[in-house]
């Protein structure tokens, strides 16, 4: 058996990879979200309430949290269609702030004291089952109608539209799928951290997901996986960094954007036919 320390690192790697994908999926249609932390929070609170107050089995709570986050994501993503680029970033940042304040002030969700008494239901197997599902679906999607539509939107939205791609529909789908993924990550997180409060899902959390995905590279399917895994494991090995972890992240973000803005991995990097793919 692996020791509990390694197990906890592996669980956090899994959760963080899922969260990194939640930023990556809207990004495949050029939608930059600065508020994925809010969807994670929604998933975390929904699953916590369902298991603690309604005694639902974890699988059902997990599914419900993904669906809840996805539905709210679709609602948020809908006006986001008219709002592109930096406008979307600001809108999602603002949305995340409103959600954080909601959980902080709403007594049903524990208010400022947070929500405690959550059972430990997250374990290695269910984290990696969820992660495998996410990766498998993304992998299948890349070669499907949906994935190709996403790619067309990413390359050139207007050209895609002239080719008959329904931009509205696909952008909402991408945004909602991203939110669903964040919700699942949030549910897994809540049942491992056992205590959640609104500050777990604020600005810093949203930004952390951006860092994971951008560090690994957002043009490649494996980028977010590599980014989240490396950035979760490295601080464990460099204990002295732990205290200055955020400064280290910050420095890395500046240097990465200056010298390798495409991130560690790029699309087609491992293919023999060269970088274009």
């Amino acid at each position: 058996m692996i020791n509990p320390y390694t197990e906890s690192i592996l669980i956090f790697v899994g959760i963080n990879v899922i969260l990194a994908y939640s930023f990556y999926i809207p990004m495949t249609t050029n939608q930059i979200s600065g508020g994925q932390g809010a969807f994670m929070g929604i998933g975390a609170y929904v699953s916590a309430v369902l298991t603690v107050n309604f005694h639902l089995p974890f699988a059902a709570a997990l599914a419900a949290s993904g669906i809840a986050a996805g539905l709210i994501g679709a609602v948020v993503g809908f006006p986001a269609l008219r709002i592109r680029g930096l406008y979307l970033v600001i809108m999602t940042l603002g949305f995340a702030e409103v959600v954080r304040v909601f959980f902080m002030t709403n007594e049903y969700f524990g208010g400022a004291y947070g929500f405690s008494g959550i059972e430990e239901l997250t374990n290695l197997s269910n984290v990696y089952v969820v992660l495998a599902m996410v990766v498998f679906l993304l992998f299948r999607m890349e070669r499907s109608h949906l994935g190709r539509a996403f790619q067309a939107i990413r390359e050139n939205e207007i050209a895609g539209e002239t080719l008959g791609i329904n931009i509205t529909r696909y952008k909402v789908i991408a945004f909602a799928l991203g939110a669903t993924t964040a919700g699942l990550g949030g549910a897994l997180y809540a049942h491992y951290a056992l205590f959640i409060d609104s500050n777990n899902f604020g600005f810093h959390r949203s930004i952390e997901m951006v860092i994971f995905a951008v560090f690994g590279g957002i043009t490649s399917l494996w980028g977010p996986l590599a980014g989240a895994a490396i950035l979760t494991v490295i601080p464990e090995f460099l204990r002295f960094i732990q205290e200055w972890r955020m400064v280290f992240y910050g420095l890395m973000m500046v240097l990465l954007m200056t010298f390798r803005p495409q991130g560690l991995l790029t699309k087609g990097m491992f293919r023999r036919s060269g970088p274009e793919g």
Binding site: Y249, M253, M257
Partner: protein
């Protein structure tokens, strides 16, 4: 009378918002990017004043001058370190690199001054002035007058000086301005300096108004500033000023008449409505998306 009293309180809050939003909008106007560490410039402005007053026993004037100098240098340094060489990478790159700077600054100041709220020294003698049933404190009067003076000064600079003309030229069309011999690099650096000075001043005013500052204060005020430039129209200077004041008044009214916990929701809600109904902002002109 209570109504007018609330308007005065709202103006005080709105003035600091407007100063922050002006910085965002000036930079957006020039480079079409969001400077995510702008809120941290404000935070450092507040801490600079705290150090000057609290540790060196300087007066408010000295603190203001010191803050303006520190934040001007800081703003230009942030531009050089995190924007100058990543500008071309689309929306995401400058966003990520300036967030990186923001995180570094938050963390350093949390280590230096603890992450908790600390008291901002009182420097103005607080006296209440009665004016036709409304009570002003000298603090409120100072904040409102001083910020309006700063905004007026900014207007004069933009409209009446060579550097202002250059800023306007670059924000209209950077390439053409460069062809016509405008030193674009210097103009952009100067704009970062001016924007950061405004944020620094806002930081000092926030300290004076609320008597306490903390390392993460920049996030909250920064997000408000971003909401305000959307409401006023991105890149629009007058829009940023007017909507800053409007949002300040609206927040105070929502606290006074509805509930204090939802003041942020009102601001961001208004922002979303504006985005849906009039994405170019209250004071902006509509432009078509170009291929």
């Amino acid at each position: 009378m209570i109504f007018l009293q609330q308007v005065v309180n709202g103006l005080m809050l709105g003035c600091t918002y407007a100063l922050v939003a002006l910085g965002y909008t000036l930079i957006f106007g020039l480079l079409r990017l969001i400077h995510m560490a702008h809120g941290e410039v404000l935070m450092i402005g507040a801490y600079t004043a705290l150090v000057i007053i609290g540790y060196f026993h300087g007066n408010l004037l000295l603190a203001m001058i010191g803050t303006m100098m520190v934040t001007a240098v800081l703003g230009i340094a942030i531009y050089l370190a995190s924007i100058r060489f990543v500008e071309k990478g689309g929306h995401l790159s400058p966003l990520v690199s300036t967030i990186g700077v923001a995180i570094i600054l938050q963390e350093i100041f949390s280590k230096l001054f603890t992450g908790e709220k600390i008291a901002f020294p009182a420097t103005l003698a607080v006296k209440n002035i009665q004016l036709g049933g409304i009570t002003f404190s000298t603090v409120q009067l100072f904040i409102i007058v001083f910020s309006l003076a700063c905004m007026f000064a900014l207007f004069r600079v933009l409209k009446g000086t060579m550097i202002g003309k250059c800023i306007r030229a670059v924000s209209e069309n950077m390439d053409t301005a460069r062809l016509l011999g405008v030193p674009v690099f210097l103009v952009v650096a100067a704009t970062f300096g001016i924007a950061s000075v405004l944020a620094g001043i806002a930081g000092v005013l926030v300290g004076i108004a609320y008597h306490s500052i903390y390392p993460l204060m920049g996030i909250e005020i920064g997000l408000k500033g971003l909401a305000i430039i959307i409401i006023g129209g991105m890149g629009n200077v007058v829009g940023a000023m007017v909507s800053g004041l409007l949002v300040g008044i609206m927040e105070i009214f929502s606290v006074a008449y509805i509930s204090s916990s939802y003041k942020d929701a009102f601001t961001f809600g208004l922002m979303v409505l504006i985005l849906i109904w009039k994405p170019e902002g209250l004071f902006g002109r509509a432009t078509d998306q170009k291929v």
